[in-house]
């Protein structure tokens, strides 16, 4: 099977509010995909649906042929939009937790990245700045040898230098058959590393193209096109 993720006509409704409406999307293996949309466009809802934190109102999501659940969690490495780790734990403890939880967790890689970002594994999460916490979370997620990485706003709170390192980490750590889906609105920072972009607006997919197709056809960067499509 060549697609790691297949969505068929997925709709999610919260009460009277439609968060996602008829989303059909196929994402192949070995790609880095940007899920781009303004605030409240449905990016996080989509990612949560893929991780079984929400269930679709209608439609179907298949990851490697399975609906989101125990089997898919083994192969999907998910970076949530918020910090869910226990504040009182030390980084080393959390690494132990991840090692126990995920058979594909590469401890050595995690320690290596911590060292490069100058984070002390003996520090408690509580004592860290927001940006450092984000880095720790991303390190944990990227240290798994997963088939699908879903990163919800991975670079929002970190400074530009660390951002470069993180993008570098993403590029050097994912294997060729793995797919990475990154949701963000910091487009200019990441567009060079993306294969494809998916524009999502008010719960609907409005465009799916490769970065170079967009540049070729419009003579604009993805960032400029985004500003046009989502002009307020």
């Amino acid at each position: 099977m060549s697609n790691i993720l297949e969505c068929k006509n997925v709709t999610k409704v919260f009460g009277a509010k439609v968060a996602l409406s008829g989303v059909t999307l196929n994402i192949p293996r070995g790609k880095i995909v940007g899920l781009l949309g303004p605030n409240a466009s449905g990016k996080s809802t989509f990612i949560k649906l893929c991780n079984d934190l929400l269930t679709p109102t209608s439609g179907e999501i298949l990851i490697d042929g399975n609906r989101p659940g125990i089997e898919t969690k083994k192969i999907v490495s998910y970076l949530p939009e918020r910090n869910y780790l226990n504040d009182w734990m030390k980084v080393a403890d959390i690494i132990g937790l991840f090692r126990d939880f995920y058979s594909d967790f590469n401890e050595e890689k995690a320690y290596d990245m911590l060292r490069r970002l100058d984070i002390n594994p003996k520090d408690k999460l509580k004592t860290m700045s927001k940006g450092t916490k984000e880095k720790v979370q991303l390190i944990l997620v990227m240290s798994r040898e997963a088939q699908l990485y879903m990163l919800d706003e991975p670079i929002g709170g970190v400074d530009p230098a660390a951002r470069d390192y993180i993008l570098d980490t993403i590029l050097s750590n994912y294997n060729e058959n793995a797919t990475i889906i990154i949701s963000t609105h910091l487009i200019s920072d990441i567009e060079k590393i993306l294969d494809e972009v998916v524009f999502i607006k008010e719960g609907k997919i409005v465009l799916t193209k490769t970065v170079d197709e967009i540049r070729e056809e419009t003579g604009k960067s993805v960032d400029s096109l985004f500003r046009e499509v989502f002009k307020c």
């Binding site: 993008l167 590029l171 060079k192 590393i193 993306l194 294969d195 970065v211 170079d212 960032d223």
Partner: protein, 123 residues
């Protein structure tokens, strides 16, 4: 040599130009082995698939060749590199001339400006 990628043109074609430039200027000498796709992609901070596509095109053009077991190499054909050099020079000059015309200079004025500046730079 840093990788310079502009935001309004396809990344793939810019990578091709930048690699051509590196071959012409001897950063990647004739017959030498290129770094791996992954390393190049990381160096340029671009998607590995995009880098792969650029390298495949350069291979198709004959400027690179790959050896199944040992990687990708720069051609040893001096004439081919000369051709690429000429092509790059042509493109640069065309852009330059277009801009100078926009500034309102005619052909003779442009030539005399070039001569003057070249003299100045010599000193």
């Amino acid at each position: 040599m840093p990788w310079e990628l502009k935001s309004d043109r396809p990344i793939y074609s810019q990578l091709i130009e930048q690699i051509e430039l590196r071959i012409c200027s001897g950063v990647y000498p004739l017959g030498s082995k290129l770094p791996s796709v992954r390393d190049l992609a990381q160096e340029a901070a671009v998607n590995p698939n995009t880098m792969q596509r650029a390298l495949a095109k350069l291979e198709e053009d004959g400027l690179l060749y790959s050896n199944r077991t040992s990687g990708r190499f720069v051609t040893e054909d001096v004439n081919m590199v000369k051709q690429v050099k000429n092509k790059l020079a042509q493109e640069h000059v065309q852009v330059f001339l277009k801009k100078m015309k926009e500034l309102g200079f005619d052909y003779n004025e442009i030539l005399s400006i070039i001569t003057t500046i070249a003299e100045e730079m010599k000193q």
